[in-house]
């Protein structure tokens, strides 16, 4: 997700020229009572840095005797800020109502509201955690640790409108923090797809809290923290030099594996395998799918943290992969079962979006087509074939779609990442891009897998001990809408 902004050639030329100009500037600087023309240079460089999403300070500090404060320093750039506010809004839209409707339509009538309540509960809870400590634990630096951030941003202290150049030169720090909050919300919200229809509401909230600290904060810091252990892109000292543009490890793998572990610990739904449990409203699911898709542009292209060329590339690759994977999933259904289904199209679209997530800012259109084909086919097999073999009740296929799709996407990234799509890959990874990056990706996958499974299992065990995981048989039979929330999704009265 972190894209070290590329210095396009235009800018580099300017900087070069600027250096050459220095002697001249120095003469001018001798003139009294007026800042020398160098300041014009600096101001121009800063403005150009805005357009090119580069560091305004870098250009300025080149000048001898530069003033402490560079031109435009601390000012967010309108185009980038606008794009990131839109992106943050879109990612929040993905959870409420996007995921709520997507998941809600897939469960039975009697549980539709419980799914929505879980999404809302997670949103409120994680927002408070993020504000208090979470943001700081992921994106702070005071611990100086590759595994966890710091305490300096507790309660969002000092997180104002000025950009935090650790992550973005032109996006307001508070917008960045809100954008990242949206990721911290949707990840646990995706998990609960594995255990819908059979977990107690308080247990969901407690699990979310424990999981947030055990899994999300450390994994997110490792992958995206400026000094993170697996942040191959930005951290030259990364232990694992993996790359993950928009959350293949942090969001997709983490949610998929956690859902798998959690659904095994919670157990199957009553009647699973005997009673049919078809989606109660694919129409609602379709609405949710569309919202997820549009929101994913904020998720993926927004992860460039600027409205720059890297975002533009991510925008294209996201579209290609989603559309292709939707078609591939449906085509496989048609080939293997005779009929292409709407649930197939929806599942394929989401799987394609998942798969391109880690790759979108690193691969080009060709890589995106590969991600689309594999992202449609492999999760299809995982959901339809592999799950049946094992027989676990991952109700909404979080492992099959997000876990498997995330892993596929990380590997696609390993093989297809190219500096043509993202020049920043050349900074620290120039030597392995196009060569052995996939090995680093494999290491990243391994560490994420182990960390996530262990963390989830511990969190779930604690929840089991404290509140218990499941509702009573009566409550589950009645449906969680009534038993946990005292409401019904639909009350279509007869006309009178």
């Amino acid at each position: 997700m972190i894209s070290i902004p590329a210095f396009p050639r235009g800018l580099r030329t300017s900087v070069l020229f600027f250096i050459l100009l220095c002697p001249l500037l120095r003469t001018w600087a001798a003139q009294p009572a007026a800042e020398p023309p160098s300041s014009v240079e600096k101001r121009l460089a800063a403005l150009e840095a805005y357009v090119a999403n580069a560091d305004p300070a870098a250009a300025a500090t080149v000048a001898p005797g530069a003033p402490a404060r560079a031109p435009l320093a601390g000012v967010p750039g309108p185009g980038h800020n606008a794009w990131m506010m839109v992106s943050a809004a879109l990612v929040l839209f993905m959870t409420i109502p996007g995921l709520g409707l997507f998941y809600g339509g897939l469960v039975r009538t009697k549980n539709v509201l419980s799914v929505v309540a879980w999404c809302f509960g997670i949103t409120s809870l994680v927002t408070v955690l993020w504000w208090a400590v979470g943001y700081s634990l992921v994106f702070g630096r005071s611990f100086d640790s590759p595994f966890l951030g710091g305490t300096e941003f507790f309660f969002l202290r000092g997180v104002g409108a000025a950009p935090n150049p650790d992550y973005s030169f032109w996006v307001s720090h508070n917008v960045f923090a809100t954008y990242q909050l949206a990721f911290a919300i949707i990840t646990p919200a995706v998990i609960i797809g594995g255990v819908v229809e059979r977990m107690r509401f308080p247990a969901v909230l407690l699990f979310t809290t424990l999981w947030f600290f055990a899994v999300y904060c450390p994994v997110a810091h490792m992958v995206w923290g400026a000094n993170g252990f697996m942040n191959g892109l930005a951290n030259p000292a990364a232990g694992i030099r993996a790359v993950d543009f928009a959350g293949g490890m942090v969001v997709e793998m983490a949610s998929g594996l956690s859902a798998l572990v959690l659904c095994l610990m919670v157990g199957k739904r009553l009647g699973h395998g005997r009673t049919p449990m078809p989606p109660h409203s694919l129409v609602i699911t379709v609405a949710g799918t569309g919202m997820l898709w549009v929101g994913w542009y904020g998720f993926n292209a927004g992860s460039a943290l600027a409205a720059d060329g890297v975002a533009a590339n991510a925008f294209l690759t996201t579209t290609l992969a989603a559309a292709v994977a939707a078609g591939v999933w449906a085509a496989l259904e048609r080939a293997l079962r005779g009929k292409a289904s709407v649930l197939g199209f929806c599942s394929g679209a989401v799987a394609g979006l998942v798969t391109i997530t880690p790759a979108c800012g690193f691969v080009d259109a060709t890589g995106a087509m590969v991600a689309g084909v594999l992202g449609g086919a492999i999760p299809f097999l995982a959901c339809v074939k592999v799950k049946a073999l094992f027989g676990y009740d991952d109700a909404l296929d979080v492992m099959g779609v997000h876990g498997v799709g995330g892993i596929v996407g990380l590997l696609v990234t390993g093989f297809f990442a190219t500096t043509a799509a993202n020049p920043a890959l050349a900074n620290n990874l120039g030597g392995i891009v196009g060569r052995t990056l996939w090995l680093e990706q494999l290491k990243g996958i391994g560490l994420t897998l182990v960390w996530t499974c262990v963390g989830t299992a511990l969190a779930a065990l604690m929840v089991k001990a404290i509140t218990g995981l499941r509702p009573t048989v009566e409550a589950e039979t009645e449906g969680l809408d009534l038993s946990d929330h005292g409401e019904e999704g639909y009350i279509y009265e007869p006309k009178s």
């Binding site: 259904e333 799950k387 049946a388």
Partner: protein, 112 residues
Amino acid sequence: MKLIIAIIKPFKLEEVKEALAAAGIEGMTVTEVKGFGRQKGHTEIYRGSEYTVDFLPKVKLEVAVADEVAGKAIDAIAKAAKTGKIGDGKIFVVPLEEVVRIRTDERGEAAV
């Protein structure tokens, strides 16, 4: 009096209604029901899980008629509802001891 209860295919409702009207019978009550019988349902697949729908949507008509009209009504329904394919449905005839028209408090055949 008789209460005629007919289970028919939903898309035949309009024709049956017209046939009854032709036989002079205008009143009836209709319910959406699910039928189980020899006709078999279909299979739906949701991400690999099969869901066999073994019931079939049917429509139930309840028609109260005077004894002498009963035969005609039954024939009218049977004829209009028939497609000749499995699942066409059944007609049940139950004795009706009393009928009341609520609006007027009429009773018996006058109320039908």
